[in-house]
């Protein structure tokens, strides 16, 4: 209490601290506690056992799911980065009129006016076995049989991820690009750099924070996803999220909790590696 009287700023951070405590820390702690409980087909038994983790960390299924999740996360990250950087570059440096810039920027966000599920489902009539792409190709007699890998495949999953999350990459990169002094581009050209050299020597280093923030969004979203993987792979692929979801459906809460804790630690580890390379605090 003494410090509170001396330093009223503690009082000022109390509301936020309470919110974080109640809605973030408390649930996570609950999950952590439950992950050590025992369970059988119909009940949870408070306990302190390591079997959930033991099973999780030695299972082949977990390893496969993690590899699959890493594959989705990496592929989606790479594609959204390429796409996001190019789009942001075009918006920031090629569109001269600020009005057109904001109009195009808003246009980028239009898909976000519909829900995730609807945006995913809307791919199905396009990609399905008898969908628009397959029937069009067949009518043009370019293919004899429908292409099977368009839907319910890794391709479909990554496509949906890119569609869902590309904007999370565009916005922060666009934001950091808009802060680049245009004279720097000319200074770079004056030094003899080609357009491509200017991009890699000047624009990319100055967009590092935007790229990092976008990467955090995309990677964490993909790592934690289960609905996209289930819908777009037709249940054929399992990511870590899908595994956890399955366990919850079977009322195996302690196992699901253990899975969630391991996933959380994995993502935190990935982020801490990222922060090692880029000082985000400096840029905010």
């Amino acid at each position: 209490m003494r410090s509170l009287a001396h330093n009223p700023s503690y009082l000022q951070v109390t509301p936020l601290a309470l919110v974080i405590l109640l809605f973030l820390l408390f649930p996570v702690l609950t999950i952590l506690v439950v992950s050590f409980w025992d369970f059988n087909a119909y009940q949870l038994i408070p306990d302190f056992i390591f079997e959930n983790y033991q099973f999780l960390l030695t299972s082949d299924v977990t390893l496969k799911a993690y590899l699959k999740t890493f594959f989705y996360a990496f592929t989606t990250w790479a594609i959204t980065l390429g796409l996001g950087f190019t789009l942001a570059y075009y918006l920031a440096f090629y569109i001269r009129s600020p009005l057109l810039q904001s109009v195009l920027f808003v246009l980028c966000t239009v898909p976000f006016l519909t829900s995730n599920i609807i945006r995913m489902i809307s791919w199905m009539p396009l990609l399905g076995r008898n969908g628009m792409i397959n029937s069009a190709l067949q009518q043009l007699e370019l293919i004899d049989a429908p292409i099977e890998w368009l839907l319910y495949s890794d391709f479909a999953v990554v496509l949906a991820f890119v569609h869902l999350y590309a904007l999370f990459m565009v916005v922060p990169i666009f934001n950091s690009m808009m802060r680049i002094d245009r004279n720097l581009m000319e200074a770079s050209m004056d030094a003899g750099a080609s357009a491509l050299q200017t991009v890699f020597q000047v624009v990319v280093p100055l967009c590092k924070s935007g790229i990092a923030i976008g990467s955090i969004f995309v990677v964490t979203l993909v790592m934690g996803d289960f609905i996209t993987v289930r819908l777009m792979s037709g249940g054929l692929s399992a990511s870590v999220g899908v595994l956890i979801h399955n366990e919850i459906s079977l009322l195996q809460y302690p196992a699901a909790a253990a899975g969630a804790i391991v996933l959380l630690l994995t993502v935190l580890l990935m982020l801490s590696i990222l922060f090692r390379f880029i000082n985000i605090k400096k840029e905010l």
């Binding site: 000319e186 200074a187 770079s188 050209m189 020597q201």
Partner: protein, 363 residues
């Protein structure tokens, strides 16, 4: 030092933005190894002209020659010019040393080599102790030195400076001005410097190019510009001049029925009539509360008196419309002070009336 190295020539250069004419057909020859200032108000086309020489702005018509080599369509780096930008445009993610070495890195020179050469350049501008500092941690003057070193590293024949001193505080501005001149003379390369400050242009330039509305109003050395401004715009822009308008008659310049000023040289009449203008330096007018030899017969009236230190600024006018600003030496003022409302007898040598040309025709 070769005389011709780094000479720049603009032949009929025009710049249009859509329908708007930014620079209208200018011809300009800048001697190699000289310090040239493009002087004019904002929007007069001086920066556009500089950027066209640098290659950052396409030329609509005309040619730009460097060392008698046509560089109109060459990219910036292949012209042998280097630009120093108004806000210096240092790369915030690179240290001073890497900023200076940037173009060498682009050229694919090894790290050790380019750092050695960059350090040499930083030494030239007395910034070697800040080699590892990032631009954000440097003051305006230090950033400018780094920017200058970066411009110099490729041994350009021409350095282009876009308002290089405008971001500095007045004290630093004067110091950097001296520094710029020192480096220019030490290296003997051409400096083309855009500024809106006539003080800066006079202090630095071998030749001053006064621009207005996309046209060149006058090219001369600073003395020539100040002693014999060619047009009313030049006389007004550099300041310290009265512009007197009148009708040209056999006796001289007629201001009113009663007042005609004798002229040494007869100016060209402005198009459309015999109206013409002359300029008269404020500090070449003698003023006194009492008549004196060679004074104008009709006195003016003192409107205001401002003490300025080395001189006193006396504003006078007469009923016939003649208005004169006078810089009176403070010793004269102290001997016979003038007060607002006093009659002011004024006089000057007839050759001090400098005939002005009509403004350059705008295409």
């Amino acid at each position: 030092m070769q005389i011709n190295k780094g000479s720049v020539e603009l032949v009929g250069v025009v710049k249009r933005y859509g329908d708007k004419l930014a620079v209208s057909e200018i011809n300009l020859a800048i001697a190699g190894g000289s310090y040239c200032c493009l002087l004019g108000p904002s929007g007069c086309g001086k920066s556009t002209t500089l950027r066209m020489i640098a290659g950052h702005e396409a030329v609509s018509e005309g040619d730009i020659l460097l060392n008698n080599r046509n560089v109109t369509d060459l990219p910036p780096r292949r012209r042998g010019t280097a630009m120093m930008f108004q806000n210096y445009a240092l790369f915030p993610h690179l240290s001073s040393l890497d900023n200076v070495a940037f173009s060498l890195k682009i050229a694919g020179i090894s790290k050790a080599d380019r750092h050695a050469r960059a350090l040499e350049m930083l030494q030239l501008v007395n910034m070697e102790t800040y080699a590892d500092a990032f631009p954000d941690n440097l003051s305006g003057g230090q950033q400018q030195r780094v920017a200058l070193a970066r411009a110099l590293i490729n041994q350009p024949e021409v350095i282009l400076l876009d308002e290089p001193l405008s971001a500095l505080d007045p004290f630093l501005r004067v110091r950097m001005r001296t520094e710029l001149k020192r480096i220019q003379q030490q290296l003997g390369i051409t400096f083309i410097h855009v500024t809106h400050s006539q003080e800066e242009a006079f202090a630095l330039a071998d030749s001053v190019v006064v621009m207005n509305n996309g046209c060149i109003e006058q090219i001369d050395n600073p003395q020539g510009i100040f002693r014999t401004p060619r047009t009313a715009f030049v006389a007004g822009f550099i300041g310290g001049h009265n512009i007197i308008e009148g009708r040209l008659t056999g006796a001289g310049l007629q201001i009113s029925q009663a007042r005609t000023l004798a002229l040494q040289t007869v100016p060209a009449p402005h198009s459309g009539g015999d109206q013409t203008q002359v300029s008269l330096r404020c500090d070449h007018i003698r003023v006194s509360p009492r008549p004196f030899d060679n004074a104008q017969a009709l006195p003016l009236q003192v409107e205001s008196v401002e003490y300025q230190g080395s001189y006193v600024h006396v504003r006078t006018r007469s009923d016939d419309g003649l208005q004169l600003s006078i810089h009176q030496p403070d010793a004269d003022y102290l001997q016979a002070p003038l007060y607002p409302g006093d009659p002011a007898y004024v006089g000057w040598h007839p050759e001090d009336l400098n005939p002005l040309q009509p403004p350059a025709a705008h295409a």
